[in-house]
């Protein structure tokens, strides 16, 4: 640990901001072997340079080039806590393996929370709202989508990094207490509401188009097709194959009807 002792308070807010900025590129060099390892090492560099020099810096860089894969928005928390552990290592309080073990054990659970909250809940919810907004004539709905999503994204990234540095490993408990999984569960219902309304707007558009079928049949047709497609998707058929199968079926049907019942 030569040249690395007595590094208490070596990490300034400016360094943390630099780490935060770099955390936006965590997936830039993502690869199949060690996933986000180059990105994490790049993020940690300003903090590691403040804590170490010489061989200690080389060893610290190598520690952070090991396998790493988590949700990109949750990486702030893990990186913040890792910086705290590195500070302890530099001060001789902890063993260098501690930071590797912390990342190894926590990246999976953090990824699960991030996937569940951001990818599986917030994104569909915000997108469903924005699509409904666009179809209802709210022209700024895409901007609303970005604002809504990024308030949570940037908030959690920044909170995670700064509180992660302050609390160390306790950040995981803090994130757990935010109840993101419970919130995610509730946003599913809101997304369902918006999607139902969106489908009704589509049905209304069909009813007032040149391709309307008969009074009131369009919503039933749209709803039935929706359920058939949903069944197909649940049976692992891809969206593209369903699109082509249905397009082929529609083309055959319309051609047949046009030839069997020509409009005079």
């Amino acid at each position: 640990m030569t040249g690395s002792q007595n590094k208490a308070n070596a990490i300034s807010s400016w360094i943390l901001f630099r780490v935060l900025w770099r955390s936006f590129f965590i997936q830039a060099a993502s690869n199949f072997e060690r996933m986000q390892n180059v990105g994490v090492c790049f993020c940690m560099t300003p903090a590691l340079r403040a804590l170490y020099s010489g061989d200690d810096l080389n060893n610290a860089l190598k520690r952070h080039l090991q396998f790493f894969n988590t949700h990109p928005y949750m990486s702030g928390a893990l990186i913040g806590a890792s910086i705290r552990i590195e500070e302890d290592i530099a001060n001789g309080i902890r063993h260098p393996d501690d930071v590797c073990n912390f990342k190894r054990y926590m990246m999976g659970p953090m990824a699960a929370i991030g996937d569940s909250f951001f990818w599986a809940s917030l994104r569909p919810f915000a997108a469903a709202w924005a699509v409904m907004g666009v179809l209802s004539g709210i022209l700024w709905a895409p901007i609303g989508f970005l604002v809504l999503f990024n308030l949570c994204h940037l908030g959690l990234r920044t909170f995670g990094l700064f509180y992660g540095y302050r609390d160390g490993e306790q950040i995981c408990e803090r994130i757990h207490r935010l109840g993101l999984v419970r919130i995610a569960d509730r946003t599913h219902y809101l997304a369902a509401l918006f999607l139902g309304a969106t489908a009704a707007i589509f049905a209304d558009r069909a009813m007032h188009s040149q391709f309307k079928l008969a009074d009131g049949v369009e919503p039933f047709l749209l709803f039935s097709m929706m359920l058939i497609f949903l069944l197909g998707l649940k049976r692992s058929l891809s969206m593209v194959s369903l699109l082509y199968i249905a397009a082929f079926g529609t083309a055959s049907l319309v051609m047949f009807l046009n030839s069997a019942f020509p409009i005079m």
């Binding site: 080389n58 080039l65 369902a192 929706m226 998707l233 969206m239």
Partner: protein
């Protein structure tokens, strides 16, 4: 010809930037079809069409999510290519009607698979960067590690821009060719596909993301209530 090339370069450039947002940098979700296509529509002065097309494409690719180490279909590349071809058609070939954008979606949907293949190839190429990062760490060369990140970003940008340029130009060529042979029957078919098939498939894809069956029931009830209100509104 110069105008067309500049427009194509603009579409490719926007696509390259959005591809960075998709995976490599920031991930502000500007690469989501709704935002990306609306942005292109705004650039090409087709804001209303951009918003509408973006909404359709957003629903169709709602389930493209980067879970864990999974590489999903590339919704950004497909959406930008479809929208780019439609807007370039409107600017350089003729008027955009529902048959044209519907045809563009049908032709352009498989591009998401090509985009997925491109993402996998880029991930394989990044393995070389990881090895170079190991060498840089041996000597404590932190500038080299930063340069590797920059290299990965540049590579992602150019790979996606080039793919968009090639796909958009090919799709525009196809659209122009097919438009000439579209009979009234085919216009009807595309109209029905655009009005019924694509929205219902899009909603189904979005509903398949819901974890609870109760969500689907709730969506069905909302559908019935809103549809009834809208119908009543018109009859009143």
């Amino acid at each position: 010809m110069v105008d067309f090339s500049l427009d194509l370069a603009l579409v490719a450039g926007v696509s390259g930037l959005l591809s960075l947002d998709r995976r490599a940098a920031f991930q502000f979700m500007a690469s989501q079809p709704l935002v990306a296509v609306s942005l292109l529509g705004f650039i090409f002065n087709e804001t209303a069409l951009g918003l509408m097309l973006g909404a359709y494409l957003q629903l169709l690719w709602m389930s493209c999510v980067l879970f864990g180490s999974n590489v999903p279909r590339n919704d950004t590349l497909a959406s930008v290519t479809i929208a780019g071809a439609v807007f370039l058609y409107g600017r350089h070939v003729g008027e955009i009607d529902p048959a044209i954008w519907c045809l563009a979606i049908l032709i352009g949907a498989p591009i998401c698979i090509a985009g997925q293949w491109l993402d996998i190839k880029l991930d394989h190429l990044n393995l070389g960067l990881a090895t170079q990062a190991d060498e840089a760490a041996q000597t404590g060369d932190t500038r080299k590690i930063a340069f590797l990140i920059f290299l990965a970003l540049i590579r992602t940008f150019f790979a996606n821009s080039s793919a968009t340029a090639v796909f958009t130009a090919s799709m525009l060529y196809l659209l122009t060719g097919l438009q000439g042979v579209l009979t009234a029957n085919w216009t009807d078919v595309l109209g029905v596909i655009g009005l019924y098939l694509i929205p219902s498939l899009g909603i189904a894809v979005a509903l398949s993301m819901l974890r609870h069956r109760r969500g689907i029931v709730l969506a069905s009830i909302t559908f019935a209530v809103v549809a009834a209100i809208l119908t009543q509104g018109y009859s009143a």
